[in-house]
Symmetry: C2
């Protein structure tokens, strides 16, 4: 029994209305509008006219349910407010939307448990794929959620257990931090402080890079590591921890731009001269890093590209799932005046 009211305001305009107005079957409407071959010019014409007249747009929900694909992907990150993440998201969104995909964005705020929940929601929503930059690499709930699905997963700068079946896009943190460390060592620094996040790949790589650099110059590694979150406060704490030691490092590498502001606060507060009393290198850029006085030496990378590559990799997997080698994108060190010789 049809419950469509006659005239305006009755039912929403669906494929049925278009078919009626054009005087054809709904199958034909579907075919024409989805550009499938095998419709006569005049039928095509009639359908198009009717659709235009009604301002018809297909209900993606129904299409998706039927087609068993949503052309949407889920992005799971910790905090979009972080310029790093937003740049990655921006890069990924550009590629994905150009390919006709929509991005479902979730923010866990760094709470692992939320990561898991958000992933479950995304999977319920039948996303076709996932791009992940989780706060932690080992959260059981997150891993369980991930193991329960078949959709392609691309992970950025994290390593998940093999049974999760993900693809990877990494930054070559070793290159940039290695160069930075070598520079510091050649300047004469012998004890280096390293403040990094806990339990994620970039931190491990950075620590290894520093160690390697010592070794490469036949020096005995003398490294102080501060593990913790990535935040302004943490930047302050770590910096103070380094400087309060009886044997403070003469150079410090910050494993994240979120730490920079805090670290600089401490430097100022203590009246230290950057590049003289203490040398500083920051991983990842900030808009004014280059213009700071003195300019902040930085380990750079193209974060937008990181997102783009992740998206491309996902699209590839969507088209044709297959095991694939991780992509490794470059980082590079830019010497600036925040690094100087030790006193």
């Amino acid at each position: 029994m049809s419950r469509r009211l006659p005239g305006a305001g009755g039912g929403r305009t669906g494929i049925r209305q278009v078919a009626d107005l054009a005087g054809v079957g709904i199958a034909s409407v579907s075919r024409v509008l989805s550009g499938q071959p095998g419709a006569s010019p005049q039928l095509t014409e009639r359908v198009l006219a009717a659709a235009r007249q009604l301002g018809y747009a297909p209900n993606a929900l129904a299409q998706n349910l039927r087609r068993r694909t949503t052309r949407s992907i889920g992005f799971v990150g910790s905090d979009i407010r972080n310029p790093l993440l937003s740049s990655i998201v921006g890069g990924a969104e550009a590629v994905l939307s150009a390919a006709g995909y929509s991005v479902l964005l979730t923010n866990s705020g760094g709470v692992p448990d939320l990561d898991a929940r958000r992933i479950e929601v995304l999977l319920q929503r039948q996303v076709d794929g996932l791009i992940l930059l989780p706060a932690s690499e080992g959260d059981p709930a997150t891993l369980a959620a991930l193991r329960g699905t078949d959709v392609p997963i691309v992970v950025i700068d994290r390593i998940l257990p093999v049974d999760v079946n993900a693809c990877y896009v990494f930054s070559d943190h070793r290159a940039g931090v290695g160069d930075a460390t070598r520079h510091l060592l050649l300047q004469g620094h012998r004890r280096i402080g390293l403040a990094v996040a806990e339990g994620v790949r970039p931190s491990r790589e950075r620590i290894l890079a520093v160690e390697d650099a010592y070794r490469g110059l036949d020096l005995v590694a003398d490294i102080l590591v501060e593990l913790g979150a990535l935040s302004t406060e943490r930047g302050e704490n770590a910096m103070e921890a380094f400087l309060d030691r009886a044997d403070p490092p003469s150079a410090i590498i910050l494993g994240g731009n979120q730490l920079l502001e805090g670290a600089l606060n401490v430097v100022r507060r203590r009246g230290l001269r950057l590049g003289k009393d203490i040398s500083l290198v920051c991983c990842d850029d900030l808009p004014l890093s280059r213009l700071y006085d003195p300019p902040i030496a930085t380990v750079m990378r193209d974060t937008s590209l990181l997102g783009q590559r992740a998206a491309e990799m996902l699209l590839e997997q969507l088209a044709h799932p297959h095991p694939i080698e991780p992509i490794v994108l470059p980082t590079w060190f830019i010497v600036r005046a925040s690094c100087g010789k030790p006193t």
Copy 2:
């Protein structure tokens, strides 16, 4: 042992499988899992057990199609890479996901035509509502797309024609810029350069605020306005345009943090001393603005709050559509050393 092997058992686990395993009808499964009253304890128990055993999660697509609501909202912005936008998105996402909504994020890159397309896509995807921060206020395609829908729309810092039927969250740009201008005038500045984006509410408000400030002090307004995009290059151009004049302004207000880096480049290149040779105020913060030498005087606002309020307003409209007054959130001026007396 709840994980199903791929391919095992034939069909994906749907409500049907749960019903069969529990030996009940699918209607009962639906009722139990959506927490509707009127199911006996033992039925509930059986269904829950079966669902758990199969690792069943309802297909949100099917639910949404049937319920005619998706619990998703679309966010349309120009560039998520802009810290301002990412902070707004972050605030909105937090509120929305806490309320059970997902966010579909789109980035137009500032191309008005893309704004329109993205909105159409979101509407096809049946989002329940829209949060907009469009690049332009007057793009015909965008407005047409917006007029074609009934979903609640919340617009941030833009004004759309009344026939679009949107709700608004504004920043009180006049307060902050007014205070900044008064400060500059009281310092003795008489000619002020203002670099703002073209054709959007914040720019109009800022111009008015500057004019009002002159008037309030019984001064004849002497304002130079540079209209354009918001980018580093534009910051350079605008700054050069101001400084190249025969009668350059002694103080400059930048209507967007995207302009700051470019403006500072020019200041440096020309060897000008900020706060002495030229005074500078920037609208919206950057992580290192406060630590710059000299610190950058800034018109502040809580951008995350902007996103939160927008989200809350949308949720309100979702629950109960009704005309509602715009929300206006504060901005405030923070004097810093980049402002000084004119020479």
